[in-house]
């Protein structure tokens, strides 16, 4: 993974000093709260319901054990002994004090981390496929691109005061695990059919929130060398022409929608044509320097199937089920990419205690070339695990309550913090997730249902990605109580789709029943091994709507 050189190190240290100075100027009155707020947000500091919140960047979700241990330490020393992994592959602490933030930033800088641009109307922390570098069907590792963008977007002189936040995601695989179509810019590495050169497919104008949109392709094959100049062209068009009269219409998706993808593309290409690429783009030597950090680790030569693993599976059914559900195929024979579930039944999705962080850090150091990933689904990944080590890892995870075999299943729920923490939320999310998990706690039943993504947001901003959940749940306020709107048929993958609203809002208590009825329709209607989303695509929403109405009728 990437390591800071002297220049990166100096930059991050200077950023810590800058923020420290900004806090001082806030306290002495040089900066008003209105002036300070965007500055603290650009450094990941929010004021939430009960306290400040600090969002720490985990660029493209890649971490090493030293970094995770430092996060565990910060959680213990300055917070309440736990953190929350987010849908943008970041980590949030819920209780830091503003006075401690400069010190926390120093501790982060010690392990090559920061909070730069984890909020605010700027280019946010770049996300990527959590199986980058290990997925079998990958064309190229997206992380060198993501790192290049991380550096380029940091403290950008021109694009730090955009109309609204701006999110970029990168994937290098056919299967989209980075939800690139729901990002302001989505980049997909692909080969040009004639030249066989790796290029980017560039999508713009995706995004969830109040007006969910799927990104539109503006360039089919952008040569890799032109990346930064092309991004500059997109950003300039957006910075100048994005709406600033209404914050709900300020994302680039609205600009693309209002003028049309074709006209937007024309304006970007016109701007791009005026740019002097070589004076903007990173030179090939710099691109190669960054890429070298992401070279694969030195894998052992192993047989494709581990006999040790097979023997353990044969004798331990619980372990066998966990392996089946939580591991993914790996490029290197004898290895696997293991997802550690942060969704034990009844816990807040994505939360991990400092003790759990340390345990996973130890496992990464011992069994995964010291590398970890954070997924947008709020789980952790040990990306390079020898199959034969899985049993030992499973036992250790089990002791820490982290051996849930539910990745991609109905209890692997994505959830924002909701009104239990968030000042923007209109309703709670976590208790809804917990109630659904309890309802479907039986592991055999979960496997019987198969892949089913439930995603919950506590407000229209959609941090919980509810629009692209197979079942989406949106918490709202209706006449002084929490009310939940259910959507169906969303998809976060390469077949990205926005879910449709099933019917009127439900009370919190009714939500698990509604999910149960939806699942029952699926189990009745599915043919053979057809997945939940495929069944919806085949039969439409009709039967589900009918079942849903029974819930609302029963409640009336």
């Amino acid at each position: 993974m990437y390591r800071y050189d002297e220049f990166d190190e100096r930059f991050v240290r200077e950023r810590v000093a800058q923020f420290t100075d900004q806090v001082t100027r806030r306290l002495d009155g040089s900066l008003t709260e209105d002036e300070f707020k965007p500055l603290r947000l650009k450094n990941g500091v929010y004021l939430q319901l009960h306290a400040y919140m600090l969002r720490i960047a985990i660029p493209y979700g890649t971490l090493n054990s030293r970094q995770l241990r430092q996060l565990a330490l910060i959680g213990e020393k300055y917070d309440r002994g736990y953190g929350h992994f987010t849908t943008r592959q970041n980590l949030q602490f819920n209780w830091p004090k503003l006075r401690d933030v400069p010190e926390i930033l120093g501790l982060l800088a010690d392990v090559e981390m920061h909070c730069i641009q984890t909020s605010g109307n700027c280019i946010r922390n770049v996300t990527a496929d959590h199986f980058a570098g290990v997925a079998q069907e990958e064309i190229e590792d997206p992380r060198p691109t993501a790192e290049l963008i991380r550096q380029w977007s940091s403290a950008h002189p021109e694009f730090s005061y955009l109309p609204r936040k701006f999110k970029i995601a990168v994937t290098g695989a056919e299967a989209d695990r980075a939800v690139i179509k729901a990002h302001d810019i989505g980049l997909r590495l692909r080969r040009h059919p004639d030249t066989h050169e790796t290029c980017y497919e560039v999508s713009v104008g995706g995004g969830l929130g109040r007006t969910p949109m799927i990104g539109k392709v503006v360039r089919d094959y952008l040569p890799k060398k032109d990346l930064l100049a092309y991004l500059e062209a997109i950003m300039r068009v957006y910075n100048l022409e994005g709406r600033r009269d209404n914050k709900y219409k300020a994302r680039v998706k609205i600009l693309v929608h209002e003028i049309g993808a074709e006209e937007f593309t024309r304006r970007v290409e016109a701007e791009f044509a005026q740019l002097d690429g070589p004076s903007i783009n990173a030179d090939p030597e710099e691109v190669a320097r960054i890429a070298a950090y992401f070279a694969p680790p030195r894998y052992e030569t192993l047989p494709a199937i581990s006999n040790t693993l097979e023997a353990a599976r044969a004798t331990n059914p619980a372990f066998a089920r966990w392996v089946e559900v939580n591991t993914a195929p790996h490029k290197a024979p004898g290895y696997t990419a293991l997802t550690v579930s942060l969704k034990p039944i009844g816990q807040a999705p994505g939360d991990a205690t400092s003790a759990q962080m340390r345990l996973v850090a130890d496992l990464a150091e011992r069994y995964s070339f010291d590398e970890l990933r954070v997924t947008h689904a709020q789980n952790l990944v040990l990306p390079h695990v020898r199959q034969r080590d899985l049993f030992a890892i499973w036992q250790k995870l089990g002791e820490a309550g982290l051996a849930s075999a539910n990745i991609g299943l109905v209890t692997d729920i994505i959830s924002c913090p909701g009104l239990d923490y968030c000042a923007l939320a209109t309703a709670r999310s976590i208790p809804i997730a917990q109630a659904i998990q309890q309802r479907f706690a039986d592991e055999a039943r979960q496997r019987e249902i198969g892949p089913l993504g439930i995603k919950i947001s506590g407000c229209i901003n959609a941090c919980g990605h509810h629009h692209v959940g197979h079942i989406g749940i949106l918490g709202l306020e209706k006449r002084g109580i929490e009310s939940y709107q259910i959507t169906l048929g969303g998809d976060a993958t390469e077949n990205a789709a926005i879910g449709e609203i099933l019917g009127p809002g439900l009370t919190a208590e009714e939500v698990p029943d509604a999910v149960e009825r939806i699942v029952a329709v699926y189990l009745t209607e599915r043919s053979e091994a057809e997945s939940f989303i495929d069944t919806i695509r085949r039969i439409g929403l009709g039967p589900f709507k009918a079942a849903f109405q029974e819930v609302t009728r029963a409640a009336a």
């Binding site: 050189d5 220049f7 990166d8 100096r10 930059f11 200077e14 950023r15 000093a17 800058q18 100075d21 900004q22 100027r25 009155g29 040089s30 900066l31 008003t32 002036e35 965007p38 500055l39 109307n121 550096q151 380029w152 940091s154 403290a155 950008h156 002189p157 021109e158 694009f159 730090s160 005061y161 955009l162 930064l228 300039r236 910075n239 100048l240 600033r244 005026q274 002097d276 004076s279 903007i280 783009n281 990173a282 030179d283 030597e285 710099e286 320097r289």
Partner: protein, 176 residues
Amino acid sequence: MPLLDRNGSREDRWTRSEGAAIGNIPAALVPWEALTEALEALAPAQQIGVILPNSVPFAALAPFLPQLSLVAIAFPAYADGRGFSLARQIRRADFTGEIRASGPLIADQFAYALSCGFDTIELPEASAARQPVPQWLHARESFSATYQRGYEATERNILDQRRAAKAAGRLAAERA
């Protein structure tokens, strides 16, 4: 209104005109709407500058640039960053006059503004009173180098610094 450039406080030699009425003001700053009319009345010794709303597209300004000595881009709020891109476009057109950011900017934007091509910042009294000049000069130096190429001198650009460091390393290796 208080004015500063990269070295600190500076006298403002520009005078705002009433609409297009530039009379014999030596350096007249006119509203965008009055620019065409004011240019017609321009005497050979006079200099003219324009107060440009940040919603005006660069293409509309471009034909006037050869006659202008100053473009003062309005920042209605400090968080409205359109002016940064406008300044870039104006500089790209080889405009050699002064570009000014006019509005309630904050010291933390000083380095960005200079990098994008601004020469001066014109502040409302209230902003300037809260943020004295030393804060601006301090904030200007927050980063000794940044990552974006084409905005700053090569010696303040990390990518160029890396290349230079590598070249120096190679040279040293050859000599050894």
